[in-house]
Amino acid sequence: MSKVAIIGGGIVGVATAYELAKLGEDVVLFEKSYFGSGSTFRCATGIRAQFTDEANIRLMKYSIERWEKLEEELGFDINFRQTGYLFLATSEEEVEAFKANIKLQNRFGVPTRLIDMDEAKEIVLILNTEPFLAGAWNPKDGKANPFKTLFAYLFRAKEMGVDAREQVEVVGLEREGDEITAVKFRSRGKVERVKVDAVLNATNAWAPVINEMAGLKRDIVPIKACKHQLVKTEPLERGQAEPLVCPPSWNDAYIIQDGEDGGIICGAGIEHEAKSLDDVEPTYDFLRGVLRYALMIAPPLRYAHVIRQWAGFYAKTPDSNPAIGKLLENFYIAAGFSGHGFMMAPAVARAIAELIAKGRSKVPLDWDWYDPYRFERGELRTSAFQIG
């Protein structure tokens, strides 16, 4: 049994702690604030296999298979529901692009199909069909509750002996040659250290800071924190807009009915560079902009009251694909998830846990595609299909 330190208590760090404990490793997990406080508790809850490249489609197909069994495995209600994703096309060229994507997704077993607007209207009762020509519909996509999912993993991880510490910040790493030998952390104002056999950097937007602590170049994995926001309406009757509905050509604007209370969550690609890693201040231009799109997608929403707005980070790499793999002999990274880290977490956690514990993994994760050194080599992937 070896001692593995995980830095970062978001969904990726917590799920990986669980998977490593299942493989018999001795895990210590550090979270500088409260669990989920980074991007995880600010996300839009969406889960989809509708990507536009083989690596992400295959990873997400596997991840959704994990999501389907997660509730049973963790013994906890996480409110995972396959309510689908509906992308909407506004031009003939876009319909052609949808067809090509659907063909690729079908090739890997993802059952997306092109639907007409009559069918779309049956699926999304409050949809304005007029601006759209057709939809790409995958009924297997869905959503889950991020709070419950994180805690389900956390409770089970703790039961298996994971030493999960919150309000404990990692402040340094000790390195000998190509190995990290100890982690320094601040707990209740005191700096302590623990010897480790391996370390995972799961700090997403903060990952460059941790890479620098490991003696690497800060930008070896160039991750930028971009502020993304959401607004949410008061609870509405269920079944009005359960799927995530998104016309990509309208600045990636989307709506999705919250699986928990039925409020409509509205997002869009109105992005701001974060002023600092504490900058989660909502902005007025977003509020106004996102609602304009939301009302064009679903006009009846104009009568709904908006009750909340919040901001979080998309931790973005230059190609919007995460960096997953090894940076040093025993120093690993899974970070830079852009807008899709929640949905990928069940797959990525298992893959990286197996890599750390056994040196290889059965998860269909394309290690070359997500190679953390690809930026250093100047090899970008085609951009992962990002929304919002």
């Binding site: 919150e166 509020l287 106004r288 908006v306 009750i307 909340r308 707005q309």
Partner: protein
């Protein structure tokens, strides 16, 4: 206050017992309690219930209520119709 039927959060129907159980299971961060039970996440933004949640948490963890920070209030603090916020509504 330990009667299980005491509703603390009227917006989201959360009882004192549920809050105490969660604290007993080891969840003592106000931000986590809020999200797991959705207490304080209703239309009133916790104005009604958060002071009570904080006093329960203070009592059960032996902390002073003033040492427990109130969770961040999310804008807008009073519900406004989407049509008005988006502009073009004649209200």
């Amino acid at each position: 206050m330990s009667d299980g039927m005491v509703i603390v959060c009227r917006c989201n129907d959360v009882t004192a017992e549920e809050i105490e159980e969660l604290i007993d299971s080891g969840v003592t961060d106000i931000e986590e309690i809020k999200r797991l039970l959705r207490v304080g996440m209703g239309p009133c933004q916790g104005r009604t219930c958060m002071p009570i949640v904080i006093s329960i948490l203070a009592r059960k963890t032996g902390r002073k209520p003033e040492d427990i920070p109130l969770p961040r209030a999310r804008v807008p603090v009073r519900p406004v119709r989407a049509g008005v916020l988006a502009g073009g509504d004649d209200e």
